[in-house]
């Protein structure tokens, strides 16, 4: 392994690093929005839309991101929907992540103690008010560790974007290997790059989980 080669490749990787972060960011924000909508539909038992969102959740969770991406990027143009690789990547990540976020958020809502719901009812809150003042504030807090775990998961999934040739970290490493045969160096930098992103997040997740176990409200 040569340090010179590593140093020379740093600028390309830095670019890829930011791209990975940017794509992850959009995908995760989108996924959280989809997840919030889906879990609200489920919580409020909205007819029809709730069934649609349940079907979406099953499809999204039980198929691989790679196939979802292939479908969006290669198959959709054949029925007249053409989007760029980047847009396809972000859409795929949102499609996949939305269902994971929905499960995390809904799990949090379900985790709100029954007595909390009952005491809300006991002071005359309507279902909507109960959701707004009691269930959602507490439930969303409870779902934070699961959301954080999904954030890590989704960032890792961006490595699959390489199959539609988005120049994120993994794709860049493969490029370096293909062009210059710098296999060891490229893989080394690749692992380090993911570690830089994911180790702090993973530590934060451990901390969040520990805090959640202690009961963040401590009522």
């Amino acid at each position: 392994m040569s340090w010179t080669i590593i140093q020379q490749s740093i600028p390309v990787f830095v670019q890829a690093f930011w791209l990975t972060l940017k794509l992850s960011f959009y995908g995760i924000i989108g996924a959280i929005i989809v997840g919030l909508i889906a879990s609200f539909l489920r919580y409020f038992k909205v007819p029809v839309l709730r069934q649609i969102s349940a079907a979406y959740t099953e499809i999204s969770r039980n198929t691989p991101l790679l196939i979802q991406l292939f479908f969006i990027y290669y198959a959709f143009p054949e029925i007249g929907i053409k989007i760029s690789a980047t847009a396809a990547g972000i859409s795929g990540l949102i499609f996949l992540g939305g269902s994971y976020m929905a499960e995390a958020i809904y799990g949090g809502l379900q985790g709100v103690a029954k007595i909390q719901v009952e005491s809300g009812l006991a002071i005359g809150l309507s279902r909507g008010q109960l959701a707004r003042y009691v269930v959602f504030p507490q439930g969303l807090t409870l779902s934070v560790p699961a959301i954080a775990a999904n954030v890590i998961f989704l960032i890792k999934e961006t490595s699959i974007f390489t199959v539609i040739a988005i120049p994120e970290l993994t794709n860049t490493a493969l490029d370096q290997i293909g062009l210059y045969y710098h296999t060891d160096e490229s893989l080394f930098v690749l692992v380090i790059a993911y570690a830089i992103i994911l180790i702090p997040l993973s530590l934060a997740l451990t901390w969040l989980e520990r805090r959640a176990r202690r009961g963040s409200f401590g009522n």
Binding site: N62, L65, L66, T162, T170, D184, L187, L190, V191
Partner: protein
Amino acid sequence: MAHSGINILFAGQNFTRLLGGLWVSAKISIVSLVIGILLGLLLGALRTLKNPVLRTILRLYLEFFRIVPTVVLLFLFYYILPKNFNVNLSAQIVAMLVFALWVAAEMSDIVRGALISVPRHQKEAGMAIGLNGPQLYRYVLLPQAVGLMIPATINLMTRVIKTTSLLLLISVMDVVNIGQQIIEANRQVYPNGAFWVYGLIFILYFLLCYPLSAWARHLERRQNNNA
């Protein structure tokens, strides 16, 4: 003309070839799950011991496989084993190895979590009747923990199945790779081939994963109701 494209699936040997590719993915999943789960049971039990060195090593092992994306793990083993260690393995074997080690890491965490949730007095009661360490795990702790481990283990299975879609990246002839070849070979006759082939693969994966995740959810719900 999307409707005529469906014939791409049945032209020549295409359908059998796709199923053949699916079998490769299934084989890799099964082998790596069996090895990984067994290894994970052992590692998970070891992680509940007090030995700090062992615990740290196993924790680092878990974190490495958690933090590095599976795609990257595949490349690491695929490129580095032959080049630096002179070990030449077929892509399928590399995939089994990576998946088995990954499953073992995840499994060790599931096992550890389940074991430490068995009430302390159960362990003490076992010791009180004179069971030794391995007996304690074999007759008291594992049987009680197994129920808790099953839903997470089934979910891990679906993750492994979904992850087999990455095998084409290390040139394994899996269902996706064969699908790509079919699309390319039939580009002239079926310009809409991707829609149907990827659509079929999409459905095949769904059919494999959905029953498993529905089963896991059913078990989880039952456990919550009993709790």
